[in-house]
């Protein structure tokens, strides 16, 4: 039995009363193992279209088939990415922050934004445990947007019983890094090591806990990689022993490698690995414009090269199983795979392609008040034939009702949840939509997705106003749901870019019946 099999991350049943009762499980899903949740057909109520109710006023909390369970202010820091870890039978939220400075009430000192650690075991009463500061000095250099956490009992060469945090160190400066912290005692995190420094443009990375392979997003000018748009590519490391990082290679789209000539394609925003079982890594490039989505063979990615920093054109193309160019107004922000989705209506009569592999592909809105850009959307892409990915439907939030373009801040898609949480897998797509909050779709028929839930927090005294100068100066205090994530109890966490805090949500009504299968 492998190490990761001996140390399964617990799976919890969907909570009946908002907070879960844990049950043991026998499968380990990415990033903790190679298994993929199996999706069965026709679970839940008949697919039906409920009309989403209009949201309330801009200063009101609004919800539909979702309810607020708990809240933490995250010290008012602009939040980027939350991840929730079942850590020794406690539920711990780790939240990465954009650059900034704010007072840490635990220390009474102003600290550069870094990583918030919050005990959400009692989701109704989260407890802020610690803030790991970001880089000191210039605001330009601060911030630590990305965070991933692995168990030392799952990592192949780590110390069993310990917990390790991977984060970017700085997100807007010339000397950024990726680093590892020991968070075994989440109230007292301890710095362990710097994986790589001298970077720029760090962003949303992925860490396979069962293998230790980490796909780090960054750039280093001296390496000579080329990008347009978002200036970053992948630096891949073996962190199976987090104390002793081992460099593997750099990677990006063909045309980005140092030896390439001509106009380079956009840089990567973030990869998601489906692990060694599926042997695939899904990569979204371009962030909010000129997007490219790419499917990569993991084994070839990790082994098929001679010069790790300067691959040949053949070597950089070898792992590519397929790609699709998005329209110029859409970028690749995140791409989450859903394997083996049984399609209602395809099951009788047809003898093949009755199940499809799809990817939830999300662009990122980038303008306050929608000025200067079109709507940014999410797409369900059929990747059953990997060499020809094909979009089959669109997930969108209309401007009305809600008048979101006049609400303030950004309105549009941003990020999809990245958890392979079985009760939701293949049933729901949960996506952050900036000032339209957390949005949930029923994707049981990916050719005809239906909105089933939303939650829009109210702005509060910590909410940072958003302004625009593109069409006369306007400012508004609007929430900006940046990223959403799911824990292993089915609770949904919404982190706010505008400093509003973190809202802990649960499903109700139709959305809940879909995942409960009743």
């Amino acid at each position: 039995m492998s190490k990761h099999q001996q140390n399964r991350v617990g799976l919890f049943l969907l909570p009946l009363l908002g907070v879960a009762t844990p049950l043991s499980a026998t499968a380990a899903y990415p990033p903790n193992g190679p298994d993929i949740p199996e999706i069965t057909l026709t679970e839940g109520p008949p697919r039906q279209r409920e009309t989403p109710p209009p949201p309330g006023a801009f200063d009101e909390q609004s919800q539909w088939n979702m309810a607020l369970v708990g809240y933490n202010d995250l010290q008012g820091r602009s939040a980027y990415q939350p991840i929730i870890i079942n850590q020794d039978k406690r539920e711990i939220a780790y939240v990465g922050h954009h650059a900034g400075f704010a007072i840490n009430p635990l220390t009474g000192k102003e600290e550069p934004n870094g990583t918030s650690i919050v005990d959400v075991t009692d989701a109704r009463n989260p407890v802020y445990l610690a803030h790991i500061p970001g880089p000191p000095g210039s605001l330009d250099a601060a911030g630590a947007q990305m965070v991933r956490v692995c168990s030392g009992s799952v990592l192949p060469k780590a110390e069993a019983g310990k917990w390790y945090l991977l984060r970017s160190h700085g997100n807007a400066g010339p000397d950024e890094a990726h680093e590892i912290w020991d968070v075994t005692d989440p109230r007292n995190p301890a710095f362990l090591t710097t994986i790589v420094d001298g970077l720029s443009n760090t962003h949303k990375s992925w860490w396979e806990c069962d293998t230790g392979i980490a796909y780090l997003v960054a750039n280093r000018t001296s390496d000579g990689w080329h990008q347009s748009g978002s200036n970053q590519h992948l630096k891949i490391y073996d962190l199976s022993n987090p104390a002793k990082p081992r460099y593997i290679r750099d990677f990006g789209l063909a045309g980005q490698q140092p030896s390439a000539k001509g106009n380079p394609p956009p840089g990567i925003h973030g990869p998601i690995s489906a692990g060694s079982g599926k042997n695939r890594v899904y990569m979204a490039y371009g962030v909010g414009a000129n997007g490219i989505f790419q499917i990569v063979d993991r084994e070839k990615l990790l082994n098929g090269f001679t010069d790790p920093i300067n691959p040949t054109q053949e070597e950089i193309l070898a792992p590519q199983k397929g790609f699709i160019n998005m329209s110029p107004d859409q970028g690749g922000h995140s791409a989450f795979p859903v394997y083996g989705l049984p399609i209602p209506g395809f099951q009788d009569g047809f003898t093949r392609l009755t199940r499809r592999d799809i990817v939830i592909l999300v662009s990122e809105a980038g303008a306050n008040y929608c000025i200067g850009e079109g709507p940014h959307l999410a797409f369900l892409v059929d990747v059953s034939n990997e060499s020809t990915p094909f979009p089959i439907s669109t997930l969108r939030v209309p401007q009305h009702p809600g008048d979101f373009c006049n609400k303030g801040g950004r309105f549009g898609a941003h990020a999809v949840t990245e958890s392979f949480y079985p009760p939701y897998y293949g049933k729901l797509a949960i996506i952050s939509w900036f000032n339209a909050g957390t949005r949930v779709w029923d994707i049981r028929d990916p050719f005809d997705p239906k909105p089933v839930a939303y939650f829009i927090p109210a702005p509060n005294d910590n909410t940072i106003a958003s302004c625009s100068m593109l069409d006369g100066t306007r400012c508004s205090t609007a929430i900006q749901t940046n990223n959403v994530e799911v824990d292993d109890r089915g609770l949904i966490y919404s982190a706010d870019r505008a400093g509003t805090g973190m809202h802990i949500l649960r499903l109700t009504g139709l959305a809940r019946r879909i995942v409960e299968g009743r």
Partner: protein, 149 residues
């Protein structure tokens, strides 16, 4: 509507169709901060949108209560709005407010706005502030500064 402080109720019991709201903990008061100080109308009047540098702002107002930089100037990502925000907390005859400043890539204040803490109109200042003449616009936002990025 934008720019309004919400007084949210305490956590409600979670029912089957429950709807809860939470009180957002207000961050430490500037009076308790070692890096912030009370700001005055006279100090605010020294901030000139389009001209005042970060050093000049800090000299006039002290260290901000909170600073944020979304960082997208550096990543090369497509973005449309200013990335660096400084905020101060203040009190005037209408109650608490936040002074909100946005800086361009050269560190020059381009947007200065007064964000009311209790539902008043957001005021964007193209010139030194006038406490007596808030201007309402659509959704309580004001477009006084026609400067384009």
């Amino acid at each position: 509507m934008g720019g309004r402080l919400l007084i949210l109720g305490a956590v409600a019991a979670i029912g089957a169709t429950g709807c809860a709201t939470h009180t957002a903990a207000t961050l430490p008061d500037p009076a308790a901060s070692t890096t912030a100080r009370a700001i005055t109308v006279e100090a605010i009047s020294r901030i000139q949108p389009g001209r005042s540098t970060q050093a000049e702002v800090q000299a006039a107002l002290g260290s901000p209560w909170r600073r944020t930089n979304y960082g997208e100037t550096y990543c090369g990502c497509e973005h449309h709005d200013l990335q660096e925000v400084w905020e101060y907390r203040g009190v005037d005859s209408n109650g608490n407010y936040k002074l909100h400043l946005e800086f361009d890539e050269d560190g020059v204040a381009q947007t200065v706005a007064k964000i009311p803490g209790a539902g008043g109109a957001v005021r964007v200042m193209a010139a030194p502030p006038d406490d007596t003449h808030p201007v309402d616009g659509a959704h309580q936002d004001v477009a006084q500064n026609s400067r384009r990025k």
